[in-house]
Amino acid sequence: MSFTQPDSIEWAAMSPVIIVLGAAVVGVLVEAFVPARARRITQLAIAFAATIGAIVAVAALWSGTRRDGGTMVLGGALVVDGPALVLQGSIAVLTILSLLVIADRTATGEDAFAPTAASVPGSDYEELARRKGLEQTEVYPLVLFAAGGMLIFPATADLLTLFVALEVLSLPLYLLTGMARRRRLLSQEASLKYFLLGAFASALLVFGIALVYGYAGTLNYGEIAAVTEDPTGLDTLLLVGAVLVLAGLLFKVGAVPFHTWTPDVYQGAPTPITGFMAACTKVAAFGALLRIYYTVVPGLQWDLDVMMWTVAIATMVVGTVVALVQTDVKRLLAYSSIAHAGFILTGIVALNPAGVSSVLFYLLVYGVATVGAFAVIWLVRERTGGSDDDDPRGSVLGEATHISQWAGLGRTHPALATAFTLFLLSFAGIPLTAGFIGKFTVFSAAVDGGAWPLALIGVLASAAAAFFYVRIIVLMFFTAPHGESDEAAAAAAADELSPEPGPAEPALVGTGVVEAGVVETGADVATPEGGVATLVAVRPVTTTTTVVPSEGFAAVAIVLCAAATILLGVFPQPVLDLIADMATFLR
C-alpha cells in the first residue's frame, strides 16, 4: 500500500466539507477564547453560517456536476458527483433544521444538555452548575464535526476514507448521546452502549476492508469494482470482505440484525440530538451504502442479494412488529426508523437508476419528518404538582415520552398535535404527505428491479405500521386528557382494538394527569455516587403533561418540517427533477 501525493487538490469541490469542519474548529477555539456570556450566541452564529455556507457551496457545485458528471478529488479519496451532492445538500438542510431544535431552550430557559456533562449525575457540583445556569456550548462544534463526517461519508471513493469518515461522524455522536440534562444515567448508558456497539461495527468494517484489500490489492472503489467484475478464484475472501463492509454500514443505518442499539440510544439521547442523529446519520450511512452497493460490488450482486433480501425483510418485519408493543414515544419512533431502514433497503436492492433517485428522495422526506417529530417530542413535557404543598409553583421536568401522557394533546394543543399527526401520517405513507411519494418511488423502483416480493412485504409492513402511528393519533385526538390514570390510559391505548367500551369521558378539558410512581434518576434525586440501581428512587409524584412554549427556534423547525412534508407530498416534481438529474454515480 502506498500513498501518492495528489497532483492538485480540488479545493472548490470539497468546499461543503471544508466549510463545516473549519467552522467546527473555530467553534472549539470560541470555547477557549470567547467569554462565557457570548459563547452561545457566537456558536449559534458560526453553526448556522457554516451549514448555510455548506448549502451554498453545494448549490455552487450543482450545475457543474450535472454537466460533467462530477470530479474525483484528492487523488481518488473523495468523489463529488450527483448523488454525493444531493446527499450533502440533504444533510446540510437537515442539520440546519436539527440545529434549530438543538438551539431551542424553550420557555424554561434550559436546553437539552447537562449543564456540565463531566459532573457526576446527582452531585452537588451538578446542582451548582445548574443553578449558575452553565451551558455546555461545546455541543455546537460537536454537531458540526458530526455533520462534517456525514458530508464526507457518502462522498468517499476509497475504503480508508470511508472508515475515517465513519469515525469522524460517530465519535461526536457518542459524546452528544451522553449529554442529556434529564435522566442522565439513561443517557450515559445509551452513550456507552452506542460506543461499544459502534466500535464493534467499526471493527467489522475494518476487517472487511482488510479482506477486500487482500483480494483486490487496492482500496479505491473504481479499482475494486474493476477487479470484482472478473472474479478469478479467492471469491470467498472477497465475499466475506464485502459482507463485513456492508455489515458495518448496516449497523449505522440500524438494519436488523444490527439494530439493537437503536431504541436505547434514541431513548437515552437528548431529544434534539435524537432527531439530528436519526435524520442525518441515516442519510449519510445510506448514501455510503448506496454508493458501495451500486459502484463497488455490483459484480457480486448474485451472492449479496441473499443477504440484502434477508436483511431488508427482517428489518421491515422486526421494526414493525416490535414497534407495535412500544409504550415510549421515542422508542416507538426508533423502531419505526428501523422499519423505514427496511423500506429504504428495498430501493437499494432494486439496483437500478430509479432505485438511486428514490432512495435519495426517501432519505430527504424521512429526515424532514423525523426532525419535526422529535422537535414536537422535545416540547411535550412533564410538569410536577403546581398545587402541591412542597412545590407551589410546579416545575417543568423532562419530556413526557410515555404515550399515555400524550392523551388529549389534540384538544389542549391542537396545532402541535396536528403537526405531529402530519409527521406520523408521513411516516405511515398516507397519500398527500411526502412519505407516500417516498414509499411509492422506492417500491416502484423495487418492483421495476424485479424485487416485487420485497415491495409486497413492505406494503404489508406499512399496513401493520399504520396501526401504531394511528394509536398515537387516537390518543392525542380521541382520548380525554383529564382524569384518567396512567394505567387506564395505557390500557385504553393498548386495548384500542378490544370492543369493550372505553373509559367514561369527563367534560373537563385540561392537561392529562398522570399518577404514577415516577422513577427518577440523575438530577432529580440527590445521591452521592453515579452508579447502578441504588440511584433509582421511587416516590409517588403526580405529574401532568404540558407543552412548554418554544423559544422560537424549534417552532420554526416544526413549521418548516410540516410545510416541507406537505409540499413534497403534493408537489414533489421540482425536487424529484433535481434528484433525477443527479442520480448517476461517477465510477
Partner: protein
C-alpha cells in the same frame, strides 16, 4: 354553459376553500359556521347543476369536462379529471347529500346553544370530504384515483373517531386498518400496472393504461390486487365486518356519507377501473364474484333481520344492497350494468334518508336499541311516515327509484345467470322482512309511556330528508333522464370488457 370551463376542478376546489375557511375562521365568523357550511354546500350543489348544463347528456358514454395537466411527471402521474354519465350522476348525488348532512348535524356535538368548536371542526371535515368525493369520482388517472382513495380515509377516520359513540375509537381504527390494508395491496397493483403500461410522464392516465397489453397471469394478479381494495370498500362479504361497527359508532351524518357515498367508490372502482383495465381477468373472475355477491345479498339481509341495533341494521341492509350492485356489474349485460350504476345513485338517496331518520330517532331517545322504541306512530307521525317511505325504498317498492334499478339488475342478470338472479331475488323478500319488522317494532303497537312527549320532526329536520324522498319519487316515476345518463356508459364498459350483450327478456319494460 361552456364545457371548456374547468368545472370539475372548481367542484373540487370550492369545498376545500370552505373547509379552510371554517378551520381558520376568525372569531366573528365562528358563530356562523353552520350557515357558512350550509351555504357553501348549497353553492356546490348549484355548481354541480351548472356542470350538468355543460355536460352533453346525449353523449354520456363519453368522458367529458376533461382536464389534463401534468402533476408529477417523474412518476408518470397527471392531474386528469373527467366524468361520464355515471361519474356525474354520483357527484350530483353526493352534492345533494352534503347539505342535508350539514342540516342534520345542526344541533350535534354539544351545540345546543350556538356553535361549538367541535361542530365547526366536524363541518370542516364534511366539506373536505366532499372535495375528495368529487375528485375520486372524477379521477381519470389511476395514481390520482389512488391518492384520493387513500387520502379520504383521514377525514372519515376523524369523523368517526372524534365525534362518534362510546366505542368510536375501536370503530375508527378498525375502519382505517381495513381500508389501509386493502389500499396498500392496491398500491402494489398500481405500481405494477404502471410498469406494465406504456410508462412515461403520462403513464398513469386511465386512457393510456386501458390499451396496455397485459400477460394473462399478470392481469389476473393485478385484478385481484385492485378488487380486494374495492371489495373492502364496497363492502362485500367476507370483508364487510368493519362497516357495522363504523356505522354503529359514527354520527348519523357520517354514516350517511360513509355508506351512501364513500362505499360507492368501491363499486365505482370495479366499474371504471377493474373492468376496463383488466377485461380478461374480469371475465375470468366473474363467476366467483357473482357467487360472493349473492352471498353478500343473502348474508347481509339475514344479519340485518337479526340486529338489535338500528344503525347496525341499516349497515347490514347496505351489505345486501352492495351485493346487488356488484352482481349487476359482473353479470355483464347492458341492462344489469346500467342498473347497477343507477342503483349506486338510488342507494345513496335511500340509505342516506334511512340513516338521517334513524339519527333523528336516536337523538330523541338516546338509544340505538330497537327494543327501546315502540308505538311511535301516534307520537311522531311525520317521522314515522318518512321512515316508512325510506324503508320502502330500501325494499324496492315499485314507484320508488330503487325499484327500477333493482329490477334492472335482476332482469339483466337473469339473462346471463338465471340461477344467480333467482337466488338473489330472495333477497328482496328478506328485505321486506327486515324493513317491515323494524317498522313494526319501532312505530306500531301501543305507545310506550316513557316515549310520550317525544317531539316530532322540526322544520329543519324535515328539510334534511324531504329532498331525498322527493328525488326517489321523481326518479321512480320518471327514470328516463337518469337512465339516459347511465345506459351509454354501460354499453362502453361492455365493449371494453369484450363481451357480447345478452338482451334481457324484459328489455324496455322498466321504462
Amino acid at each position: 354553459m361552456s364545457p371548456d370551463f374547468p368545472w370539475l376542478t372548481t367542484l373540487i376546489a370550492w369545498p376545500v376553500l370552505g373547509a379552510l375557511l371554517l378551520w381558520l375562521a376568525p372569531r366573528g365568523l365562528r358563530a356562523h359556521a353552520r350557515m357558512i357550511a350550509l351555504a357553501w354546500s348549497l353553492v356546490e350543489l348549484v355548481l354541480v347543476g351548472l356542470a350538468f348544463t355543460a355536460f352533453d347528456t346525449g353523449d354520456s358514454g363519453t368522458v367529458q369536462l376533461t382536464e389534463t395537466h401534468r402533476w408529477i411527471p417523474a412518476i408518470g402521474t397527471s392531474y386528469a379529471v373527467g366524468v361520464d354519465g355515471v361519474g356525474l350522476a354520483l357527484i350530483a348525488m353526493s352534492a345533494l347529500l352534503v347539505p342535508l348532512v350539514v342540516l342534520a348535524a345542526w344541533r350535534e356535538q354539544g351545540s345546543q346553544e350556538g356553535v361549538s368548536d367541535r361542530l365547526r371542526g366536524y363541518l370542516a371535515l364534511v366539506l373536505l370530504l366532499e372535495a375528495f368525493i368529487v375528485a375520486v369520482f372524477a379521477a381519470r388517472d389511476v395514481f390520482l384515483f389512488y391518492v384520493v382513495f387513500e387520502a379520504m380515509l383521514i377525514p372519515v377516520y376523524f369523523m368517526i373517531g372524534a365525534f362518534g359513540g362510546a366505542q368510536r375509537r375501536y370503530a375508527a381504527v378498525k375502519f382505517l386498518l381495513y381500508s389501509l390494508a386493502g389500499g396498500l395491496i392496491m398500491l402494489v397493483g398500481v405500481i405494477a400496472l404502471y410498469l406494465q403500461g406504456p410508462g412515461g410522464p403520462e403513464g398513469f392516465l386511465t386512457d393510456n393504461l386501458v390499451t396496455a397489453d397485459l400477460a394473462p397471469t399478470t392481469e389476473k394478479w393485478l385484478f385481484v390486487a385492485f378488487f380486494i381494495a374495492f371489495a373492502i370498500k364496497a363492502p362485500m362479504f367476507p370483508v364487510h365486518t368493519w362497516l357495522p361497527d363504523a356505522a354503529e359508532q359514527a354520527p348519523a351524518g357520517t354514516s350517511t356519507l360513509l355508506v351512501g357515498v364513500l362505499d360507492k367508490v368501491g363499486t365505482f372502482g370495479m366499474l371504471t377501473l377493474c373492468l376496463p383495465l383488466f377485461p380478461d381477468a374480469s371475465r375470468w373472475a366473474a363467476p366467483v364474484i357473482i357467487v360472493l355477491a349473492v352471498v353478500s345479498i343473502l348474508y347481509g339481509a339475514l344479519l340485518a333481520i337479526g340486529q338489535k341495533d338500528l344503525m347496525r341494521l341499516i349497515a347490514y341492509t347496505s351489505v345486501s344492497h352492495f351485493g346487488f350492485i356488484v352482481l349487476g356489474i359482473f353479470a355483464f349485460t347492458s341492462t344489469s350494468v346500467a342498473g347497477s350504476s343507477f342503483y349506486m345513485v338510488n342507494h345513496g338517496l335511500s340509505t342516506g334518508a334511512l340513516f338521517l331518520l334513524a339519527g333523528f330517532l336516536v337523538a330523541r331517545r338516546g338509544s340505538q336499541q330497537i327494543a327501546d322504541f315502540g308505538g311511535l306512530q301516534k307520537i311522531v307521525p311525520v317521522l314515522a311516515g318518512l321512515f316508512l317511505v325510506a324503508g320502502l325504498s330500501a325494499l324496492s317498492l315499485p314507484g320508488l327509484s330503487t325499484f327500477v334499478s333493482e329490477f334492472m339488475v335482476l332482469v339483466g342478470t337473469f339473462a346471463r345467470h338465471p340461477a344467480a338472479a333467482i337466488v338473489a331475488s330472495t333477497g328482496v323478500v328478506l328485505a321486506a322482512i327486515y324493513i317491515l319488522w323494524t317498522y313494526q317494532r319501532i312505530f306500531t303497537g301501543p305507545p310506550r309511556e316513557e316515549l310520550e312527549g317525544m317531539p316530532d320532526l322540526r322544520a329543519r329536520e324535515r328539510w334534511a330528508v324531504a329532498p331525498l324522498i322527493a328525488a326517489m319519487l321523481v326518479l321512480g316515476f320518471v327514470p328516463g333522464p337518469a337512465l339516459d345518463l347511465v345506459r351509454p356508459p354501460a354499453a362502453v364498459t361492455l365493449d371494453q370488457v369484450g363481451v357480447t350483450d345478452v338482451p334481457a327478456a324484459a328489455e324496455g319494460s322498466d321504462q
